[in-house]
Amino acid sequence: MSAVLQTRNLVKKFGGFVATNDVSLNIERGARHALIGPNGAGKTTLINLLSGFLEPTSGEVVLKGEIVTKLAQHQRVKRGMVRTFQINCLFAEMTVLEAVSLAVCERLGLGGHWWRPLAAQRDAVDEAAALLASLHLADVANEQTRNLAYGKQRLIEIALALAAKPQVLLLDEPAAGVPTSESRELFETIARLPREVTILLIEHDMDLVFRFADRISVMVNGALLTENTPDEIARDKRVKEVYLGEALDG
């Protein structure tokens, strides 16, 4: 069994509203797995449950064979599962370089070190700098995050996740707000991640989804509707009806 990430009968209720309805998902190691579905279907909620941002009402999350349902978010990150946020969640008053260095330091376990200054942690800073360069963010490295246009901030959102060198990467609409040309590049960067990195992607841009994914799950009203290869999904009448419309026709 090579599933790196699994959910078992995951349920999340907000009051009476069922946002996640008995979801059991298997994601293979190294998969490029996309999760699609109408607005409000529960995709982000699922990522929140996987990453520990929310606690499920019932059910389990299994990461690399270990039940992590009770683990705190940062412990899941330590075990290699990292997420991005659909709506940017950044450090407004840090420079871009500081923010990414912070993330690298946390991965290297330096976050609790209080004696040597940040600048003396050369490995961490150099790694952060290299990551920024690879995302074409070098020129804004010393700008405050909050003064950047939305698209740039979107890239920092992803840089923070990549800084954690994830084995399982959960991406929530990473390309939203990034112009077409740059979202291509962004996806190329993601695609260049080592093959054994598993990626779960939420995205409404079907061009990107169908180019990138090797498996697609469709969610509707909190429950999994179907899971299949991209070709099969594209042919699936139900998916077309609830979600795709004419998206793939044009």
Binding site: G40, T180, R184, H204
Partner: protein, 238 residues
């Protein structure tokens, strides 16, 4: 048709200690019921331009006329009454108001009312009692659009309205915008990353580069000009 909006030599930016100028010498005009695609790469000033029309930036100099009035002289909160409706890029949903309150709190009389909105976005009807901060990303986007429509504006400013919406909804929305443009009920300015989706819908296009207008003319002409599109908006635009 009558002229609705006219900008001449507009300079604007952000206040504060640094006091940066983002928009330089902007000028274009829009007819009543007209439609305009506002294009440009990341950080070129599209959002800033819409925010300037709404009075949410630091206006330095120039002239902005809307319905024959000097817009710069009108306080920000009165511009909605004049007929401007705004869908901010960051959605800016009121977190502590329910979906329905978000809509009714800004409502003005006109053809768009709650019922019609709910017909257009049934999802919002389902979630009407939810608080603004308990919505999915796409639901927030719908709500932002719906909220601006509740103002019954003469000119609708849409800042990347399609972002984060499911394909089916995008298609619906484009159809509705197309219809509005065709009937001339409401003028629109549309900011979008996906130029290919909106250029067919709009009559005019303006392209910004580093805060300056580098193209202002017919959408059609721009759509066919692949090399300029590539140049201004980056590779890979259909």
């Amino acid at each position: 048709m009558a002229e609705l909006l006219k900008l001449e030599n507009v300079w604007a930016g952000y206040g504060g200690s640094a006091g940066s100028v983002v928009l330089e010498d902007i000028g274009f005009s829009l007819e009543d019921g007209g439609s305009l695609a506002l294009l440009g790469r990341n950080g070129m000033g599209k959002t800033t331009l819409l925010a300037t029309l709404m009075g949410a930036t630091h206006f330095k100099s120039g002239r902005m006329r809307f319905c024959g009035q000097d817009l710069a002289a009108v306080a920000s909160h009165r511009r909605a009454a004049l007929g401007l409706g705004w869908v901010p890029q960051e959605r800016d949903i009121f977190a502590s108001l329910s979906v329905e309150e978000n809509l009714s709190v800004v409502a003005r009389p006109g053809p768009w009312h709650l019922q019609r909105i709910y017909e257009m976005f049934p999802r919002l009807l389902e979630r009407r009692a939810n608080m603004g901060n308990q919505l999915s990303g796409g639901e927030q986007q719908m709500l932002a659009i719906a909220r601006a429509l509740m103002l019954n504006p003469r000119l609708l400013l849409l800042d990347e309205p399609l972002e984060g919406l499911a394909p089916l909804i995008v298609q619906d929305l484009l159809r509705i915008i197309g219809r509005m443009v065709a009937t001339g009920d409401m003028a629109v300015i549309l900011v979008e990353q996906h130029a290919h989706q909106i250029l067919p819908l709009t009559q005019q296009a303006v392209v910004l580069e580093r805060g300056r207008v580098v193209y202002s003319g017919a959408s059609d002409a721009l759509r066919r000009d692949r090399s300029r599109l590539d140049n201004w908006l980056g590779v890979g635009v259909h």
